[in-house]
């Protein structure tokens, strides 16, 4: 009896899948002629352009619905001989490396074009030609140091506000927690905007960067909500208190965000955009001191937490170092989008925890004058510091 019912369950679970496979095979399977209408044209996407010694290297991906050949390469719309590795035939989603021997000039803009076998030319513009970074110890150290300066140092400085926050009364603390919510709201919006921008500029439409952003935001929010709840539940039986958990979650959320910032700084340096890189470094450093405040605020009523604070600061800040490395040496739009949007989701989770925390602490309505002015001021401060970036 039990055997039969199990069998039934398996059949009822698998049968629809089999039927679905049969239907898809009928529609688009090999030899199917049912959906042959319209015109199918090849499409390629120039994902990355590197300037190396007397050579321009293009990473190209077939983003169209059919296989295609790349048959002509050009620089600034002038046909050039080139080599394609591994070969010039690209199946769906396959990438190839096009190597164009070319005595390029540093600092000049270039447009690189590739033509497919149907005669369609696809191009990508590079604002400033700059030699691709080669990872050596010195450069790894340099980028790492920038990561420290952008991520860890400003957050540690921000943590120094803790003694000041300690002296505040109930409403003062409420104000600062709300101020933190304002900061975080801004950071989340900033991360989503940045992610959408990268998907617009660097990712082929076929990968649906916008939806990738929202998928990651939602998944990371739900995932961290679960993790946060578990931590809070466990904190009831340990000395790791609820406020501590909130701080930790804030630090993790900010960590993701700083990874994204690191990517931006690293990519700017990698692309030779010195002015932009400098602005980003200074801007993020200013911006990130407020993040230290965000971590410290929930802990204002705790004592003897210096070592934990430092740990949280490191959790929040050190991802910036990894970010600058990855951004500088091999910028990938995928990585950037995924991390920025995970960061946004994490931040939304933190905001929810903070709201719950403020509500549970007192009987008075949540949206009082202190909270509203705190959130508003937080957003305004972030907006003003963001102008420097």
């Amino acid at each position: 009896m039990i055997q039969t019912s199990k069998y039934r369950i398996v059949v009822s679970a698998v049968a629809p899948i089999i039927l679905l496979v049969i239907m898809v095979a009928f529609l688009v399977g090999p030899g199917s002629t049912f959906l042959q209408f319209g015109v199918i044209v090849p499409e390629i996407y120039l994902e990355k352009i590197d300037f190396v010694d007397s050579e321009i290297q293009v990473t190209v991906r077939n983003t169209g619905p059919i296989d295609t050949n790349i048959v002509v390469a050009d620089v600034n719309d002038r046909i050039q001989p080139a080599a394609i590795e591994p070969d010039n035939h690209l199946t769906r989603f396959e990438t190839a490396l096009v190597r164009i021997p070319y005595d390029w000039n540093e600092g000049q803009p270039y447009t690189i074009g590739l033509t497919t076998d149907d005669g369609t030319r696809f191009e990508k513009h590079v604002d400033v030609a700059f030699p691709a970074l080669v990872p050596d110890l010195e450069l790894i150290g340099f980028l790492g140091l920038i990561g420290v300066l952008v991520g860890i140092v400003p957050i540690m400085i921000g943590l120094l506000w803790l003694p000041f926050i300690r002296r505040l009364g109930e409403n003062g603390l409420r104000f600062f927690l709300a101020f933190t919510i304002g900061l975080l709201l801004f950071l989340a919006a900033d991360a989503i905007e940045e992610s959408l921008e990268i998907s617009q500029e660097h990712l082929s439409d076929v990968f649906n960067g916008k939806l990738l952003t929202f998928t990651c935001v939602i998944l990371s929010f739900l995932g961290l909500y679960l993790v946060g709840n578990q931590l809070i539940k466990r904190s009831q039986f340990s000395k790791f208190s609820k406020t501590m958990t909130i701080s930790l979650m804030i630090a993790i959320g900010i960590g993701f965000h700083n990874f994204g910032e690191g990517l931006a700084v690293g990519a700017a340096i990698g692309l030779g955009q010195v002015a932009l890189g400098t602005f980003l470094i200074v801007g993020f450093a200013l911006h990130n001191t407020t993040e230290g405040l965000a971590i410290a605020a929930p802990l204002s009523r705790k004592k003897g937490i210096i070592s934990k604070l430092i740990m949280f600061g490191l959790i929040a800040g050190s991802p910036a170092i990894f970010g600058t490395w990855i951004g500088g040496f091999s910028f990938s739009p995928f990585t950037a989008i995924i991390f920025l949007s995970i960061g946004a989701g994490a931040i939304f989770q933190v905001i929810l925890s903070l709201i719950n925390y403020i509500r549970n602490e007192s009987e008075i309505p949540f949206l009082n004058i202190y909270v509203i002015s705190g959130i508003s001021l937080g957003i305004v401060v972030m907006y003003i510091t963001s102008i420097f970036i």
């Binding site: 994902e47 007397s54 050579e55 290297q57 990473t59 050949n69 790349i70 048959v71 002509v72 390469a73 050009d74 719309d77 002038r78 046909i79 050039q80 001989p81 080139a82 080599a83 394609i84 590795e85 591994p86 070969d87 010039n88 990438t95 190839a96 490396l97 190597r99 021997p101 070319y102 005595d103 033509t115 076998d117 149907d118 005669g119 369609t120 030319r121 993790v227 993790i252 960590g255 993701f256 990874f259 959790i315 991802p319 990894f322 990855i326 091999s330 990938s332 995928f334 990585t335 995924i338 991390f339 995970i342």
Partner: protein, 346 residues
């Protein structure tokens, strides 16, 4: 957890640099040596400039020396009648540059169509058939009656029309489809050369036809490729062999669309040029010639020194997208005996 995600990020980054990584591990096999720069590669070389692969369907060398004199009969009054059978099509896909496939519209299956050649005063009769899916006509430059102009007498798909006119005046002319939108019909390839020789023949020379054309293969209103005789860079990898001190007569026709001018620059010597070939006195002695859309010029020149000489558009954009060619001047006398001469049909 954040560090686990870091590792995932690093791995995902690795995934996107994998093509480079895997290639670096292989032993480089090929050397690419062009324009002075050398690279080692394990991959394939795409080089339309130094192309050495299979010949393409259209052969510019044959076209350059191929003159169609028609089927010749003599009328009662002694007039020479030359009859031509021309069929228009618009469904062919042709490899116009190595690997590049383009929908060409053709007169008698090729771009350009046949070079129609007659002597002044001959009666020309063109039996035109439209085998295409769109309306087409043949519009000849030169003197003829209005109804033979190929503009208002649209020939629909499957239709026929007989054009009849006297070869007049002497010169280098052209013919092309004149159905609206003319730009589309011309850029797809519906054009050809029409030469009217004087009754007193021109001085004996090695005669070459150059049709300066372009292809807008992605239909964005700009030419992707430029050429002398359709195939970009063809005479770069197949230099035209000529003998020194041999008079060369080049029939140069500019049928380029989208770009309002085109030009012709000859290295190592200068030419006399005859606008539209209508006069016997040259208009100038130069190594540069600028032509607007539809302009033609006959050039006469010879080389004093042997060697490899380039000729190309001095609009360097055009030359770097295919309209660059070369003469290989040799010591020996190598006048082509295989010049196709349909006059022998008489």
């Amino acid at each position: 957890m954040i560090y686990i995600l870091m590792i995932i990020a690093s791995l995902s980054t690795m995934y996107f640099v994998i093509p480079e990584v895997t290639n670096a591990a292989e032993e480089p096999r090929t050397f690419l040596t062009h324009t002075g720069l050398v690279i080692k590669t394990t991959g394939e070389v795409i080089d339309p400039i130094g192309y050495s692969g299979e010949p393409l369907e259209f052969n510019p060398d044959e076209f350059m020396r191929n003159f169609d004199y028609g089927i010749v009969t003599e009328l009662d009054d002694g007039t020479v009648l030359r009859e031509f059978y021309i069929t228009a099509r618009d469904d062919q896909i042709m490899e116009i540059s190595p690997g590049v496939h383009y929908n060409v519209w053709t007169f008698n299956g090729s771009v350009p169509g046949p070079t129609i050649r007659a002597t002044e005063g001959d009666l020309i009769r063109i039996h035109f058939t439209n085998d295409g899916s769109k309306a087409h006509t043949m519009h000849f430059h030169g003197k003829h009656k209005a109804e033979m102009d190929g503009v208002f007498e649209i020939v629909g798909p499957g239709g026929k029309f007989t054009y009849e006119f006297y070869a007049d005046p002497v010169g280098l002319h052209l013919y092309h489809c004149h159905v609206h939108p003319v730009e589309e019909h011309i850029t797809h390839g519906l054009y050809g050369v029409y030469i009217v020789d004087p009754k007193e023949p021109r001085e004996s020379a090695e005669e070459l036809v150059f049709v300066l054309n372009g292809m807008d293969t992605d239909y964005d209103g700009e030419n992707n490729f430029y050429a002398a005789n359709t195939i970009p860079f063809y005479y770069q990898h197949h230099p035209i062999e000529i003998s020194k001190n041999q008079l060369i007569r080049a029939y140069v026709v500019n049928i380029l669309e989208f770009d309002s001018i085109n030009n012709f620059h000859l290295h190592g010597t200068l030419f006399h040029h005859f606008p539209a070939g209508t006069d016997t006195v040259p208009s100038g002695f130069n190594d540069m010639l600028t032509m607007s859309q539809g302009d033609r010029q006959i050039l006469e020149f010879e080389y004093e020194y042997p060697g490899l000489y380039m000729f190309h558009a001095h609009v360097t954009e055009f030359s770097e997208k295919g309209w660059v060619s070369s003469f290989l001047v040799t010591e020996q006398n190598n006048i082509h005996s295989d010049v196709i001469d349909n006059d022998s049909d008489i």
